[in-house]
Symmetry: C2
Subunit: 422 residues, 2 copies
């Protein structure tokens, strides 16, 4: 249980965040955008220091035996840093959600009620290796009027610290409080426990971005609300009435376009009546593209290179060039499989039968359900939200891509002329 009393350092961090957030909440859009441009400029100016810090992180990680994909996610270079700065500038261009009136109505007694978007407050973001999360999350929080407390993984600790130092210089230059974006000054596991305890009421929301063990720990121990970004065990279901060309293209893209994103397909379900030809073509296409296929007995009959899938495979997020494939008997069996093994992230059906598609979209209880499109569209940018913190897999508050709007809450403003309740 996260009942550690917070240390003085982290408590001070939380209080500084709270105070900074009050200023941010009142800041006009122009001032916040100015800060975002200054943050991007400071990232560019700080390039040498950030890359030097990153070199040290990469060196330590590689001595510690980290392998390819992980090291690659950690590694920065000038183009990646420039992409980070551009992404911060892109957030400046997005509409400011704060202050928008979502709904308004009046009551028979003359009360005028409006529902207005407001920032959530102080948001703690706990992330693992990718250091660009620091810049994206800091910028998204600032634009949406929230203060950010970032807690990076130990692999990317120095890099994230250098990035946050640059962001703070930019924020300061714009006249907003630099404590709007802060970083936990240690990468020890105990600091996570302190954040989960809420730092004496200074944290309003925790966003864990990382593997299953991190997210599960946060869900179990947090005493403040959590916006979970859990794994994506995403499915493509090739229905009996699927168009073969679409099915092949979508399966290949959903699995292989980028295997390391949470919207990548991990399991392909193919209807028994879709035919052995189509099944064989999908299997060959994937194997030819460099994908390992693990299948049930029916899938293995079409190609000897298919390995046997175990029960474990159906529930695994590979984030790699591996796919689990299963033949299912009809839409209900497909929906049952997704319900049993999926993670309520993103699932797709390929079919020319609109009624079947609508039934799949209705009955699969995932944040994103698609008809005749790749699961790799599960992305804030592809939805038109601009940048995102990630894809939320919980059911409360925000589901799917978490962009600026999802980082806000609302309040009711009620304007009267002296009304009392009878």
């Amino acid at each position: 249980m996260a009942d550690d009393a917070p240390t003085r350092d982290l408590l001070a961090l939380g209080r500084a965040a709270r105070a900074a957030q009050r200023e941010l909440a009142k800041a006009p859009t122009a001032r916040k955008n100015e800060a975002l441009h200054a943050m991007a400029a400071a990232l560019r100016e700080g390039c040498a220091a950030i890359l030097a810090a990153n070199d040290r992180d990469v060196g330590r990680a590689s001595s510690a035996g980290r392998r390819g994909a992980l090291l690659d996610r950690l590694k920065l270079d000038t183009p990646r840093l420039e992409a980070m700065a551009l992404s911060v500038e892109d957030i400046a261009v997005l509409p400011d959600p704060v202050g928008a009136t979502i709904a308004q109505w009046s009551r028979p007694n003359g009360l005028q009620i409006s529902r207005v978007r407001v920032p959530i407050g102080v948001i703690a973001i706990i992330f693992e290796s990718r250091p660009n999360v620091a810049a994206d999350a800091g910028a998204l929080c600032l634009k949406s009027g929230n203060a950010a407390i970032l807690r990076g993984g130990s692999d990317s600790f120095e890099t994230a610290r250098a990035i946050v130092a640059a962001l703070q210089r930019g924020i300061e230059r714009s006249g907003l409080p630099p404590a709007a974006v802060q970083m936990v000054p240690t990468s020890g596991r105990e600091s996570v426990g302190e954040l989960l305890g809420g730092l004496a009421g200074t944290i309003d929301l925790i966003v864990p971005r990382g593997g299953k063990s991190l997210v599960t720990r946060v869900q179990n121990e947090a005493r403040v609300p959590v916006l979970s970004h859990l794994e994506g065990v995403c499915h493509v279901y090739v229905h009996a009435a699927a168009d073969a060309a679409k099915a092949i293209a979508i399966c290949r893209n959903a699995k292989m376009r980028r295997t390391g994103v949470c919207g990548a397909a991990e399991t392909i379900l193919i209807d028994a009546t879709a035919g052995a030809d189509l099944l064989g073509e999908i299997v060959r296409t994937l194997i030819d593209a460099g994908c390992e296929v693990r299948g049930d007995a029916d899938v293995r009959t079409v190609d000897p290179r298919v390995r046997a899938a175990t029960e474990q495979d159906w529930a695994t997020e590979y984030l790699d060039a591996i796919v689990a494939m299963r033949v299912v008997s009809g839409l209900d069996a497909a929906v049952d499989h997704v319900r049993r093994y999926g993670s309520q992230h993103t699932d797709a059906i390929v079919t020319e039968d609109t009624a079947a598609a609508e039934r799949f979209l209705a009955e699969v209880d995932s944040a994103i359900v698609l008809h005749n499109a790749s699961t790799q569209f599960a992305d804030g940018g592809e939805f038109g939200f601009g940048a995102e913190i990630g894809i939320a897999t919980g059911k409360l508050h925000a589901r799917g891509p978490v962009g600026l709007e999802q980082l806000t809450t609302f309040k009711y403003k009620v304007r009267g002329t002296g009304q009392i309740r009878p």
Copy 2:
């Protein structure tokens, strides 16, 4: 920590709820409304059994020494039972939120994205003495496509059980699964722990409705999302430019209309420049209405009957005919007081100065902020939402009155024609 493995009974309850919820999610509005009418009819038919159960509960509670207000909240009679049935019928008339398209847009690549309201799933509602919560919560959950697991307090245990039995008879008659509304078959404290653990993933949301100790326990121990209904330490701030007649009427109504509701004012802040006359009039009005006034030194000077307020008073939800009063110097001091002692529930300003009002509405970070109106309007019915579960005081998902719409979440349906992501 709520890591008790669930007992077989409660696990079976959770699984039955999950299965029933799948049926409910697909049920058309007409079928759900039919069920609600049948539930109301079954409450009326079950009147004798429910009142007999209630007599036993009241008898036990009064032997256990429960006092007036508590006993009164527990006690049912024929008119109260009829009001309960009418309230269930009112919910049948409200629009069905499930399936509504909240937003839709298309992307340059031709993808059609829509954001559609869906039920949350299985909702556990933990409540204390008032047994009518069972009928209201069960009916609201059913209409919004959610299965309800109710866990009442020990005082109202038999009454709630009789009410739920009637509701289930009604649901069954309409052809929907009676497990759509279930009650935990024990009132032991350990059953709360099991619910907080999520019953092996069968619970999607926990709604605690009760005192601070219940809500705090739920927030600390729950491993699933919580929609908290915490206390209402609500304020009325009488600004320098307040209209005296409005200020007096609003203070009196906000405090005394009903003292036991969460939207009742607990503290009145009066601006130093509003004048001793107005202060004196408000104090006298409240005392004459039977209210005990506890004030700071400035308030005590205007009337010898005012008792001294302690630090504790500013943070207390009396739910009784007691009010804390304090003289503050200006709007900022008022906002600071609310920020420090309030519970982010409902707060009001009385003023004829629109700019001051707008600043108060913007800077007080509560679910509901009012200008020139009584805090007693903090109510789903008064907002036009129909029935409500209560007023949520957290910042995530739903703030303020929790009605049908707030008991839903959404999913994204994406319709394509074979799009793959470049």
